[in-house]
Subunit: 448 residues, 4 copies
């Protein structure tokens, strides 16, 4: 197979200034061509963290920078592997630098299928960003596919295989997705930088230094144990402090209900002309093309919300306003014991004049910060292994007290969301209702 | 005058995590109420640097964070002035802390009138963001005005006066707008942070330490001369390296021509139904209300561009695509001598198949990095003065060689923009045309 | 009691530029006077981390900067307590700002009794830096005492009481020494900065924000749990990665043996004239005054080592050279099972020509990263408590999985140190000896 | 020439953690061997900035880290040159990677001849650190020479030639010493980091990117003009704000007078036995060997000062105390006009009881921040040149207003130093004398 196009280097290495990695270095013509496709440029218009920017106002960065960052980390890993661990004979566990191109392309494109407010959008419209990523790579209509095809007819599906974890070389797969991969490493650093919190920081240079390829994929030198431990702890803390922040989740609840309400009104033919969300109709009708999907971005959705705030439907108008003007719901922790309280609380909320379907929600945010390999799991994870001086491997949690503490433990919480108005002591009319409601909340928890 | 509402402090100081200032501290209820208005929240949907994010991909931050930052710097100045230089008798040149509230509100709201892609939008639709800021403060229909009015009936216009520089106390005015004010200090630091360039960094803590109020406004202790010098140099370098970047200006040229084309088509009734930009019509018709203006944001414009890329008008469709997919024009420096070349170059561009009105432009980017006071100027600037130990004042450029070097000197350049295709050597058809064109470009300059 | 001197503020707040805290702010005349004493200036000549700078070359900072940093953090805590939690009636758990002066002085002076290479020096000469600190504060001959006495005759012993933890107000004591105090917070940040490792970083601003005084001392708002957790984890990682580094411990072993050898030679009258360590003689003779102690610093010891490298005693000369030229011993982990190997290994080392008393050592480095209060312990620690919204307290490890993982667990290791020459495979003469030795070392551990 | 030893790479690249460059990468065995020499390790005991740490307390770093930093920057330049501009035929202006070894060794060792408090020491004892550097490289007795000789007999003098600027390849020479070289780049960044000031920061990554080898040495791509400009401005500001700080210069004055006084007493045989500075005697006698020189370090000098503070000679004792306890002289700016005042001021100082020879001084601190090549100068400097797209060169100050402003201009000041006691208003006895003195000082300047 002759990779002539894939091998083409730019006459002069190109750099993009990046606040996280200082510079992103582009050496292959194909990488520059991929960045210049319409599908990739569209990522500039989709926020990386969705509603999190409504809690951490600094975090307005898009998926565009993150994708460049994953590419850059992958490029650095390839450079280091090629310099220090080149494969000499096939199957010796070293790095075969012919894999560089497929790794770089997969890194750059791994999130290309994301749409606006992905999580919520998928929930309401049953789309799947991973399947869409594969479609964008392999559908002959996209600019991305046209670029990839120039390498070889099979190249688009090879890149897709890396993202789907079916690519034969586990080193390439684990570089892009494993419990310590270029994707996670970039987003922790990037989200830390933009939120202005320091929790996600870890020592990237050191992690890259102790990374080693071997037959089974990627391992880490034992001397780097504490650097890997620090990364796991950082990831845990970002989830606890940033990604699971109750205010962001509350804004996501509002967004979810807003789209649900619009869909309901559309199905009932009660959406008025000016506010018709033309670009969303294929999704309301559950019959959309890739082209329909690729027209969407955050601004398109926000524009419809902007129209809907003038809607005659009070719930639609109110939810759109709450979303655009950032009026979050309040929340409290919920446990199995206090679950039984919900009907009573929803009733009080109805009494206070709110539709409890659209104005309350329960939301789980749970994460498994790290897990050792467990064949009984539905999707067993690739565990992190450390290589000792004599070449033997040990699993991370067996040598790190900190990691063991959070291994296999689901972290996060389950919360009940409700209108802020329920906590007010000013509305005379509903004073009794509010007092009854507030009696069930203490120290950020529901109580019986 | 009883400022009861203005004096209300939050039961517990509230903080917003900010990547530039670490935290923004909110102590007054009114500040929190202003942040929660619809008009202020809208700033989240308007990028601070417009097309600059298409050159520096990290710089996707909105005007929302900048406004908070200007507020925070102003708050710190007030704190420091109140601690170190409280006024004892009226007119003694000290700081009267009753001015704090009007200063904080003006700082927070000084950019509230900005719309999407402000510079270009104003150029095409003849709007004026400063006049709109005053309108938002003083019009009884806005949420901002409703909050401000609770302090006193005159308060909205007092805040407006600070922004318009007609407020009687020059200390308050200079805090918000002068050659070294909270606005400039925040944007230099913030734009540096988000672009990932270091040029705009200067020592904010030290500048705040050497700032002093006096009868004539604000001065700086002589020992802080080099810190002030460093700030001026940083500002100069951000203009040269970031704000005047040719690629961003090229994208602004495309945006400008895109809106101009849409307007032309609308006036000729040739825009098709689906692509009708409902929210822009009041501006096309040159008859818009404040409400019309406040509905706009970057996403709304981008959504129309998204529609227009499917337009039957080739120029509209092509310009929209170039804008959304980031396909910048190329450019070269232009001087008075080479100005005469333009007709010839435009003719070659027409020969290559481009409408030279929509596909070329000249654009100036000039800035006066610093100027001493000059009564002959149309808008004389408040010069920066340093106070010596014995209380006498000296103007900055008389003691700093570096500042003197750029004082009163207009910096920047004038460029001619044209389609990238003119530089290609691949299109056989236009080979001669391209060669003739390229003969006039050398070392980033037009040559005769 | 009239604290006139203690209350004197400088006419203008003075600042010292500090790389960790940006600026250290000095407001009281007494603080400036204390910094200017001979005893305090001497701290500039004593490295904060001793032999650690031989592993992390950037970490050459002295105890001087650390003491200023502890002062500065304490000052910020006092400011925040005075602003947000002022005591209104005695015993209400609020902060009484009359305690500020004693807190600031104790913070500044808490390490004033440290000498050169403290840990090793104390081991060899049986000095005690805490007792010496108290002596420096209370002995009428020191400049420090002369400054403190100007406040009141009792003030020196009040400051000493804070450091000895016998001061009646637990808030003041815990500010300076507890499991999360100004001392630890400064050294983690400072040692991170100077080593260039990031492990010791935590969010100081946020920790200071969530700190609260109460009757029992100092607590933290529940919302700050993760920030406190992050601090504990950072501390754990600094111990594991920096403070317990085997190379630094190895250099400490050499230093210890070097001083021991000199002492032995002195007691045997075999030290020659030129190399007589005049300033150390009082310590060799176990009869020293405070004045003798205060003359010592790192440079004095190094100067003697410099002389000793020319000694006729081969062991003294060799150890001095190894120390000054940084020639560390090697080491391997030791367990209870492998303890029995030591005699055999020492014998092999003797066979290779080394005095096993001076060229081997075992060294423990253990730390208790955090502990909840346990009355059965010899020195029960003040546990970290979090305050919930309703005022109730919970102990940190009951709410943090990460902290619980390392609570009450001793971390660190025990190592056996030996000459690097034992690992060589080049010395033909001792080839068999070396091979026999090396057979007992694998993966950084002794094996049977 | 067979460079077998020089070509030996370590089995695994070694890294040293560095706070400025993150890591220093060591690949050649010879570099590790050089670092491990006695002469190089001695640099750990010599402060990089001498008395500056008495003004900026954070700046206690030694010459050791700086030398590693210069090595690391040089290594990165070599890597980049080898990747992007390899020489294909001799004399084509490309980089010949056979020069790497001599460049790296020269970078590492360029400061090896520095002694304690170099500037002052050279002034009093007429030593010359550059000549000593050459001696250390070429004298067969040093460990450094023994390592270098293993490459080839000529190698030590080749390395010396680079440092003396007589090496034939100007690219290698300019890498190590020119107006923008690895030495200056490291010390600006490092001194900024340790002082905690930001003035010395510039964009190292970008400067390295735009550097290019050519026949005449090293040039910079035109697109990097502002990065180079920023470096020149940073350098200027570090001189103005840090290196020329009056307090550090005042401490240097004291140090200078202290050594002068000791020398005078020694020549008069009036130094007492215990205080005899054995290691300094060869210098007092003006007859020292390289071995004598290499025994000295900051600690040795400080130890003598420590002894001298108990001297019977009051001036020696007082100056030693002022130095160790940091009691700086005060100072004021001096001009040609006010020069005539000095005799009168010195007389007043004598009247106040001070020996005016030992207690006053005038001191110049001037620097030429940048200069274009001027053949008329005694030591014409290599000017900084920028390469345009078409390969033509332009000199920096012709395209940068900021650089032009400081080109060829000597910056700094001349100050008169005197005892702080002259500014006191508390000593009744000398009240008239002090008032007469103070009448000549205003706004930090002498006045007639």
């Amino acid at each position: 197979m002759h990779l002539s196009y894939g091998d083409q280097l730019l006459p002069m290495e190109k750099v993009l200034r990046d606040p996280v990695h200082d510079y992103v270095y582009i050496q292959h013509k194909i990488i520059l061509d991929l960045i210049n496709t319409s599908e990739f440029q569209r990522l500039r218009r989709i926020k990386q963290l969705g509603t999190t920017s409504l809690t951490f106002h600094g975090a307005e960065h898009s998926r565009f920078g993150h994708c460049l960052g994953v590419y850059e980390i992958t490029r650095r890993i390839c450079d280091m592997f090629a310099r220090n661990y080149p494969s000499k004979t096939p199957g010796d566990g070293g790095w075969d630098d012919h894999e560089r191109l497929v790794a770089l392309c997969a890194a750059l494109l791994h999130d290309i299928g994301h749409g606006p407010y992905s999580h919520t959008f998928e929930h309401i419209f049953h789309t799947d960003h991973e399947a869409l990523t594969v479609q964008i790579l392999t559908s002959p209509d996209t600019e991305v596919n046209q670029v990839l095809r120039q390498v070889s007819p099979e190249f688009p599906s090879q890149v897709a295989a890396v993202i789907q974890k079916t690519y034969p070389n586990p080193q390439v797969v684990q570089m892009i997705s494993s419990q310590i991969d270029a994707d996670r490493m970039d987003y922790l650093l990037r989200d830390s930088y933009y939120t202005g919190t320091d929790y996600g920081n870890f020592d990237l240079t050191r992690i890259l230094r102790v990374m080693k390829p071997y037959q089974g994929g990627i391992t880490f030198a034992m001397e780097g144990m504490h650097a890997v431990e620090d990364y796991i702890v950082s990831r845990f803390q970002m989830y606890m402090q940033v990604y699971f922040h109750p205010v962001s989740r509350s804004m996501e609840v509002i967004l979810d209900h807003l789209l649900e309400r619009a869909n309901e009104l559309y199905q009932n033919h009660s959406i008025n002309a000016e506010a018709t969300p033309h670009m969303l109709l294929p999704f309301f009708n559950n019959d959309f093309t890739l082209h329909d999907y690729l027209r969407l971005d955050d601004g398109v959705l926000d524009t419809y919300f902007n129209h809907w705030r003038d809607s005659k439907d009070q719930i639609l108008a109110d939810l759109a306003t709450r979303f655009l003007d950032r009026r979050p719901l309040k929340s409290a922790r919920l446990t199995e014991q206090t679950q039984s309280l919900l009907p009573k609380l929803q009733q009080l909320i109805e009494q206070a004049g709110f539709d409890s379907h659209y104005y309350t929600a329960t939301n789980d945010s749970y994460d498994l910060p790290y897990d050792a390999y467990d064949p009984k799991m539905k999707k067993p994870r690739t565990q992190i292994e450390l290589m000792q001086e004599d070449g033997s491997l040990v699993e991370l949690s067996t040598v790190s007290d900190l990691v063991r503490a959070i291994t296999g433990k689901v972290s996060g919480d389950r919360r009940f969301f409700f209108p802020k108005e329920m906590l007010s002591d000013q509305i005379d009319l509903f004073n009794d209702v509010n007092q009854a409601f507030q009696a069930h909340i203490q120290n950020d928890r529901l109580i019986l």
